[in-house]
Each structure stands twice: as C-alpha cells, then as structure tokens.
Amino acid sequence: MRTIIKYVLLDLLKNKTIIVYTIILAALSVSVLSMGSNATKGLLSLLNITLLFVPIISILFSTIYFFNSIEFTELLLAQPIKRKTMLLASYTGVAFALGIAYIIGIGVPVCIFSYGPAALTLIISGLFLSLIFSALALLIFVLFKDKTKGIGAAIIIALFFTLLFDGLLLSFIYSFSDYPIEKPLLGMISLNPVDLGRILVLLQLDVAVMMGYSGALFKKFLGSATGSIYVFACMMFWIVIPLFLSVRKFRKKDL
C-alpha cells in the first residue's frame, strides 16, 4: 500500500494541474492577505475561495485522474494486490496531493500573514473538503464505467454541494419558517460538508456574532466544544462513508 501511495504521489506532485492549482491558490491568498489590513476580512475571502474552488477542483481532478489511470490500475491489479488496497492507496495518493497543494497554497500564506485559531480552522476545513471531495470522486469512479459520465456526475455533485443544497435548504427554511426548525436545520447542515466547513470557520471569526444574532442555537451548539467535535465527526463520516461504499462496490467492479 505504502509503495503505491509513494509512487502515486511522486507522479502527482509533478502533475501540471496540481502545480497550477497550488500556484493559483497561493497567488490568491497572498494577494488577499497582503492587500487588506483586516485579518478577518482576508480570512473570510479565503474561506469563500476555499468553499468555491476546493470542492470542485478536488472532485473534478480526482475523477479525471482515477479514470485516466484505469489501465495502470488494471496492470497493478494483475499483480498480487488486493483490490481494496489498490483503491485505498490510489485514493490516499490523490487526497494527499490535493491536501499538500492546499496546505502550500492557502495554509502557508495564512500561517504567515494571520496565524490564529481561525486560520487553523480554515486550513483544517480546506483539508477536510479536499479529502471529502476526492473520496466522492473515488465513489464516482467506482460507480460509473464511462469517463464522460463520471465527469458529468462530478460536476453535478460539486454544484449540488456548493449551490443547490443551500438553495434547497433555503426553500426549506422558507416553507417551514413558522415552525421551530433550528434543530432540524442543524441536522440538515450536517448533510453538506461545504456548509459544515463554512460554519466551522465562521464560528472562529468574530462575524459568528451575526449568526448568533438571529439563531442563538447555531452558535451555542456549534460554537461549543461538543459542537466542534460533532462537526469533525460529520466531516469524518463524509470521508469514511464514500470510501467504504467505494471499496464495497469496487469488489464487484469489472475493469
């Protein structure tokens, strides 16, 4: 397993897309952070960049990578390697590469310019999103035979979580605004890793007050230690469940 991860990483760290992705993230964060004097504002902009770019790039890149390396995967699977090992190893390699890109692109500049709990939370959220969306890409790879369909699915999933989900959530809030929906809302938020990441970071910034202004429960629960643990647990689930499903499905997949 370690061997495969090592070589996948060796390949990916020289990958042009990964390098460009890293450079763009770094350029964005350096320009955002060095421009404004206000650290909170810089972090908020980076949060928005993270929430927009990381899911879509992670899922698209990973999906394309998995489909493109299908022949190599076959070759490796003709070796005495378990399918599970192969799948998890190539996932780990890709997730690692995306994670490293994020850390170099956003993590390092953030730590240099505005180090603090909020910055750390931003890095952790971004990493989680990279891992989650590459896990979803793996699931797409396992479920679809055709690369084009897979890429389509990846785009739809990324759009769903960055945009459509919140739209549905908003219409839910709208239609049930006469009822006490704070608790169901908390539950629903857990179904979207992008929202989880966003709220996790917002709660570390002083703009959290604005969320508390209207919905005290969000801040009270999610701002507490239990809340943070809950959010982390949800994010972990968002990695583990797609991986688990992928491994299960991959056992029966014809290559």
């Binding site: 928005n48 945009l163 704070e182 809302l185 202004y213 209207s214 919905g215």
Partner: protein
C-alpha cells in the same frame, strides 16, 4: 444657549471664590469622622482641603454651600456598606477625591456622590471606584460633572449601578468623564437641555449611554466602545448627536446606537466602527443621519418599517456585511448622496455621482430579516449568487429603498 450661559457663569463663579464671598479655608486630616465634623462646622462658602489619607467615612451629608477639595486624592472608603456623599445644597463643589466601595443594595440607589434637589453643583476630577452608582443626580439643575474617572469591577448587571446617573434634571453638563465597568456608563431619564461631551464610556456591562424621555439634549465628542449592548436612545425628541464614536459594540444583542421612538433629531459626523449593528432604528420620525461613517459593521443600518421621514445623506458605508436591513417593503425614509463601497455602477458624465441608483438592501438581508434562521447560510456561495441575480432582476427588495445619487468616491467627512 441658555445652558451655555449658565455654565459660563458657573465657571466664573468657581474660579473666583474669594472675590465673590468671604470664606475661610480649612484643612482636614484623616482622623475619625474628621470630614463629617469639618462639614458640620463649616460655614456657607467655606473651602475644606481634605489631606491625603484614608477616611473611613460614609453618608457624608452636605447641606450648606461649601467647596471640598482633595489634596493628593484622599480616599473616602464606604466599606462596602454605605453611601459616600449626599449633597442637597446648591453650589457645592467636590473635587479631587477618591470615593470607593459603597455598599450594594437593591432597595435604595447607593452612590459615591449623590446630589438631590440642588443647583449649581460641581463634581470635578474625582475618582469613583467600585461604587454601585458613581455620580447620582436626582432632580437637579445646572450641575457640572467633569473629568471624573468612574469605574467598577463588578460583573453582575443586577448588583451594579450606572456611572453617571441623572433623573428628572435639566441643564446638566457631563463632560470629560471616563465610565467603565458600570451597568450603564451614563444614564439619563427625564433630563432635558443638557450636554454630554468628551466622555469615554467603555466596557460597561449594558449600555455605554442609556437615555430615555430626555429631550433637547446634545451629545458630542463622546466615545462609546466595547459596551455590552452599545448605546440606547429612546422616547425622546430634539436629540443632537455629533462627532461621537461608536466602536466595537460587538455581541449577539449589541448595537452601536439603538434609536427607539425618537423624533426630530440629528445624528451627524459620528463614526460607527465594527458594531454588530451600526444604528438600529425603531419608530423614529424625522431623524437625520448625515456625514457619518459606517465601517466594518455587521449591519450598518437596521431601519424598521415603523420609521419615517428620516434622511440618510452624505454618509460613507465601507466594509459592512450588510449596508441596510429592513423588515418591511414600504420605505418612508430617504437615502441620498451616500458613498457605498459595494456600489458597482458607472459615472459616464463624470460628475462623481453614479448614474444608476444603488439599492442598499441585499436580498439575503431581506430573507434573514424575515427568517432569522436563514443566517445559517451566511457567507455561502448561494447568498452571493442570490444578491447578484437580484441586482439584475429585482423582485424581493423594497424598490423605494434606494440611493438615486450614490457617490463614486468616499466623502470627506
């Protein structure tokens, strides 16, 4: 004008005590009941010089016109049980004392210095430390509270009183005081024709300034910072607020300035920086907000539908999460010639005024105003898109609420 004349007179009168009346000067040293005895012995117009030291005295009642001056800040300690000074004579001056540790009671308002039914009283350069109330004015006129430092370390709002507390008074001048750690920094109720100037009211548990039913008062050059709930101004008319700074009143239920049932008032040249809400207006009529700076607030303005006839002119709105929020669709207030950093219109005729109107209410703020729970989507990609779409196809935002002449450049205030 009246009050200014009065203060000029008062100041003259204080500066030249020897020439106005024939009085004697007495030195008082720290022995048992020395202040109380000295006051009892003093005649009208006398001046007592309290020498430095600790005086365990309390409930010191002043009923004659005298001047009490502390030398090197003598400490009057009320031992956490009693009141400090109680003044009920006109033209008394208290200066340079440190009055500390009054008791705390829920039945009576215990104060460091209490002035009741008097006129022309001056409280100057005192330190009032850990008292329930700092300076307490009840039914007084023409009093002068100047350069006092009033602070408390209490953390409970219930057990705590206000820094400068004025009730049913008129023609007061509260100037240059520092109030911190009290319940309300400065509290006015039924106080008219008064000035609050150059005070620094910060980190108070509730309001930096709290006033109700107090008409025709003027507030200038004060700083209200880090107060639990900011500043509340309610049920008054003819209020003038100029050159004040409202900074970082930041919390779940905090306002830079809360205006409730205010009529015919002016808010000019104030700075609202980093407050949860810059100004929250409810039931106001004809309140003009001009030449103010709103920067980095959560909401710069929350104007409830119950407000009418207000003008918001020539203000700068910079870096606020939401510029204006409102709960209604009808808007009877007017925005004109403001600078909005979010404005992305154009200025073809180069007259420094944008050619298309600016709509300061974002659709997301309309939604959150209706359904606060929607705040959970704060800073999500969806809300950005909603606002962008709304700009192209306005459907939800109140269409009357707009600035027809948005400025292209930041105004010089």
């Amino acid at each position: 004008m009246n009050s200014i004349l009065a203060f000029t007179f008062l100041t003259l009168y204080l500066c030249l005590p020897g020439k106005v009346c024939y009085a004697s000067n007495l030195k008082v040293y720290a022995t048992a009941n020395s202040i109380r005895n000295a006051i009892a012995a003093a005649h009208k117009g006398d001046t007592l010089f309290i020498q430095s030291g600790v005086y365990k005295e309390h409930d010191i009642v002043v009923t004659t016109k005298i001047t009490i001056i502390g030398i090197g800040y003598p400490v009057i300690d009320a031992e956490n049980k009693y009141q400090g000074f109680i003044i009920s004579a006109d033209s008394v001056t208290i200066q340079g004392l440190q009055i500390q540790n009054t008791g705390r009671a829920s039945t009576t308002d215990i104060a460091g210095i209490k002035i009741i039914n008097a006129r022309f009283v001056t409280i100057r350069n005192n330190k009032l430390t850990d008292n329930t109330y700092g300076v307490y004015l009840q039914n007084v006129s023409y009093c002068y509270v100047f350069n006092n430092i009033i602070q408390s370390r209490s953390t409970s709002e219930i057990n705590n009183g206000n820094g400068v507390h004025a009730w049913k008074s008129d023609h007061l001048l509260v100037k240059g005081n520092t109030c911190t750690g009290q319940r309300d920094g400065i509290y006015f109720e039924f106080v008219t024709d008064s000035h609050i100037e150059d005070n620094n009211s910060y980190s108070n548990l509730r309001y930096g300034l709290h006033f109700m039913f107090s008409h025709d008062d003027t507030y200038t050059h004060n700083i209200f910072k880090d107060n639990g709930a900011g500043v509340a101004v309610m049920y008054s008319h003819g209020v003038i607020m100029k050159d004040n700074e409202f900074i970082h009143n930041w919390g779940d239920a905090s306002y830079g300035l809360l205006l409730k049932e205010i009529t015919d008032s002016k808010i000019e040249h104030n700075h609202f920086l980093k407050n949860t809400v810059g100004i929250h207006m409810e039931g106001t009529t004809r309140v003009d907000v001009k030449h103010c700076l709103f920067e980095d607030n959560g909401w710069a303005l929350r104007v409830q539908a119950s407000c009418s006839g207000s003008n918001f002119m020539e203000n700068n709105f910079i870096g606020n999460s939401f510029d204006v929020a409102t709960n209604g669709t009808l808007m009877l207030n007017f925005f004109n010639h403001n600078y909005w950093d979010k404005y992305d219109g154009y200025d073809l005729d180069k007259n420094n005024i944008g050619d298309v109107p600016y709509y300061p209410v974002s659709v997301y703020s309309v939604v959150t105003e209706k359904i606060p729970d929607a705040m959970i989507l704060y800073h999500s990609f969806l809300t950005d898109i909603m606002d962008k779409v709304e700009k192209v196809l306005p459907t939800m935002i109140p269409d009357k609420l707009k600035d027809d002449n948005p400025m292209m450049k930041k105004l010089k205030l």
